[in-house]
Symmetry: C2
Amino acid sequence: MADIPVSHTDVLIIGAGPSGLAAAYWMARCGIKARVIDKRTRKVMLGHADGLRTRTLELFDSIGFQHKVLHEAQSLAHYAFWRSDGNGGLHRHGGNRQYDLLSGSPYFPMGLSQARIERFFLDTIRECSDIDVERGIVAESLAYTEDVEIDESDTYPITVKLRALSEEEANAGLPYGDLRVIDRNNVPQDEWDDLTPKKTKNPGEKEVLKAKFIIGCDGAHSWTRKQLDIPLEGSTTEALWGVMDVIPITDFPDIRRGGFVATEAGTMLLVSRERQLTRFYVSLKDVDEEASNRERSSVTLDMISKRVQAILSPYRFNYEICDWWTAYQVGQRLAPTFSRGRRMHLAGDAVHTHSPKIGLGMNTSIQDGFNIGWKIALVLKGIAHPSIIDTYDLERHRVAEEVLHYDRNFFAHFQEDAPETGPSPCFENKAETMRNVLESFLLFAEGYKSFYQASPLVLKEATGVAGHLEPGERLPLVKICNQADGASEWTSRILKSDGRFRILVLAGDMQVESQKQRVVALSQYLDSPCSVLQRFTPKGHNLDSVIEVLTIHSLSVDDIELSEFPEVLRLLDRKRGWGYDKVWSDSVFPLDRYCDGKAYETWGVDRVRGALVVVRPDQYIGWTGELEDVDGLSGYFDGVLREPKC
Amino acid sequence: MADIPVSHTDVLIIGAGPSGLAAAYWMARCGIKARVIDKRTRKVMLGHADGLRTRTLELFDSIGFQHKVLHEAQSLAHYAFWRSDGNGGLHRHGGNRQYDLLSGSPYFPMGLSQARIERFFLDTIRECSDIDVERGIVAESLAYTEDVEIDESDTYPITVKLRALSEEEANAGLPYGDLRVIDRNNVPQDEWDDLTPKKTKNPGEKEVLKAKFIIGCDGAHSWTRKQLDIPLEGSTTEALWGVMDVIPITDFPDIRRGGFVATEAGTMLLVSRERQLTRFYVSLKDVDEEASNRERSSVTLDMISKRVQAILSPYRFNYEICDWWTAYQVGQRLAPTFSRGRRMHLAGDAVHTHSPKIGLGMNTSIQDGFNIGWKIALVLKGIAHPSIIDTYDLERHRVAEEVLHYDRNFFAHFQEDAPETGPSPCFENKAETMRNVLESFLLFAEGYKSFYQASPLVLKEATGVAGHLEPGERLPLVKICNQADGASEWTSRILKSDGRFRILVLAGDMQVESQKQRVVALSQYLDSPCSVLQRFTPKGHNLDSVIEVLTIHSLSVDDIELSEFPEVLRLLDRKRGWGYDKVWSDSVFPLDRYCDGKAYETWGVDRVRGALVVVRPDQYIGWTGELEDVDGLSGYFDGVLREPKC
């Protein structure tokens, strides 16, 4: 080992897929020293995951690239169920459907290749840091000293040996031949630089890397998980499915609308996509006598395409352009824990696998990486107690269980929907059941319901003061007016993912004198040496660098002036002036139909008396209370943050 | 000249500011061979123009980068008038104001530095072509043979000698010292590559360039204009103004809202901007006894800043960060013509200058370049008659006249608003007058009214069939639903600026049998060998490559299937399937508050009978008629397009 160079990093992220990049985002944004390695020499360019749920879009907005996603993605707001009509034809069951529950939100489910999401993450990471994914690198051994307390000293209890791969090793076992050549003709211009593999090391070159934390985001066959001796429990069914992304040439009416088709010939899910692509998921059982051994490796693109033809018949189906295809066996598997101690974690497919058909894979993975990322970053910065790291497994394991539960429910009906011999009499009911499953899980699937459990980060005492705000759930999206410029903005963009906790001062109606006094009293507390702002902000830093106070009042912007708000609510920066982005109004802005002055209503808050809300760096609600409840407020932050050493 | 290399290009664009880049966009998009040269070795990085009008935002949407602009720009939907209150204070006159006229549109006026707009143009040009701006290059002589007919032969009647400049020559006379250093700290990451001047030639290197067309976009002191012997007529007033972009530190309430301040100490316009910048325009007369000679070169940043302080008093004003500043004398100047023959043209500041305060400079310039660009591109492709080029001067000269007219009106009141000795009794009326000027010109200023005159491109016969659609004006923006996927989209994005004319088939209510027959009859015409589609599309090209047919019906998407539309309305592409982006519905989409099913109403079209509308490649209305009026339709295209040679 004498010849092998030794380096140190705070965080090692293994795998640069959606979960790895979401975690890496936080290291980049918070200025944490991190390394990101990936086995493949080139990023994903086509295919793979493609479903984006609304919470994920909110998250992208808080990161700053949601506009790019919306510009390219395909809306999946519409869908339909199709079935055999009994006369050899197909019939749309129950007409066109929309996700009505999402009304009022600017976001719908969208379809866009994982390749693009990774692109936007990579660009953002590059914009705010020097972190770059090191490709063609594999970890070969992992040693660690358990139970080393996390303090601020320079201990690196994790040792990983890295090795650079040859092109052949790196890309061995890439999925399923027949992929078309990926070149400048079929990927957007901003991917061109990454078409040529960029190697930072020569094949065979080794490195010993010592790290304080490790996050294994290395997929369903996770090497890291095996090193940590964490199993993946569950089962794989016999059912074999094919997936393909093609530009279909068909007269099937809902080819751009997406939905479900269940006939004698099989069961199929359609997802309409960017660039006139459609993704097809088809069951492959009985497709071919010879393939009935159900070996995944025996599946061909032609087999999938023939199955689609059979299911869509009598509509015609063909294609000339295929972006990507694969085959998989449906399995629900879950790791019993996502963490080993506080320093070693797993995220994404490494700890949960399920059917891709429910469109939750990429979303869940991103949110795993996002969840562990900010916690480690804040602990490494010395801002947060190491104990908050324990909430990663607590919060995300529960979500993964629910994902698998949903998948099992959905999949069960999906399978049943394929009547063996013509439409069964109870088919209509089954389609209805499937729709019910879809709708009953919708708020969870969209990420509007997360079930994050009580912990120092989530104080669940029912104060009733903000009736629709539930600690452990994400802050429901509203559009509000900025007091200083009158412009409207969604909270998904206002609550930036920049590592800061936020206190939302829902100031209510300050034209009521008693209410104004309540706001003044709160502000006096915030300005005092014993306040959470003063106590947890390191000396010499801006008073909003750890906790940002945002005020949202219920008056019109025309009924009050920014100067009427206490200075601590609109902190003056010596170089950048007053905090114009800190005071907002829940009022109607006639030029914006989404800015309807109903934030307080959405949040269940009294328009006169207001409330106090703590929002975590990931936009989840941590605590709610009355404006006077500064003890409750302090209590929350005492459980989460560390006072800086003088 | 023996040693000087000779090259050929179809179009030479001199000057890579907003007008030059808007023209270059078309060459890039249409695959035209073009060269773009600019004297400076580096693109604009900070300051300069910053006002974006709503029509310009629509245009960006049709090009494909509007989402980037909206992501960065500051809303200017609000403004206020301030005046002395007679007691040494300032008083907001008439409260906060909004551009109510723009209600229903997704766009408001926005503020964003010209630097960013140029960035987005450059990125788009690079995405679709090999055209790159050659910097540090100056044209030194221009010779041309007039009256060479434009045909398809290879004649290059324009000869320009180019010379590469040294860094010193290129950047001589850059404005007004005291500019802070421009580096990675103060420009976004996507500008970093352009921080270092990129020279394609060595200083002194020469080239003889022969061109078919030239577009001079080289600013108020246009070298090209002088070569073409076209004067700039008008006058410069004595009034001297200072401009600065700073991050203000002030307690003035409307510093983020923008607006007008007129007091004893002078007159000022505020434009709130991205990154918490504010732009200040201040009159400098009498600011300083010694500077009263009103020499522009005598103005300093400190002088401007002191004037702002005086006007905003008793509010405090200061700053630490200044991005940019300059001084100018107000002048209204206009070239009598924008073209010399059909081959040589001028655009932007080269042919019209006015006060920057009305926020129309960059908008008018972009639209000039955009207007001449597509016309030259289509003529060079052999698609359009050379005569359409004559409409450039016809259309844009009239607009420039109106801009100057507006500027004179606005400026007159602006000046008067500064009472010499305290608030005059009629001040209130004057502020009201100024507001009236602002509002009466609003539709023009926003680009919603353009007065393009009758020409082969604009047939003005009143058919009454689409009462609110006026040939010569831009198609009013509506949001409609796609028939194939149900998703909603603004027409600004549907009507892409890709060089195609469009026939909008407003199919009305096809559940009415007689109406359906009218649509079928029109489709039979479109499918027939004598139709404009068949006649003007070159052999071997897709039938939508010159003229695209878009259908917008008035039924709900649920009441009709795509397959019920005749095939010519949803052209099948052998590789890409049916034309899913060609059939739309004017119906309510409950998940999108802007998609309200009122397109027909906005356009003044009968919901049953529909109409036929021709939209030019720049989204201006060319012609309207009944669905039966295929003679009128043919007539329009006969006057504009050339039948391809067999």
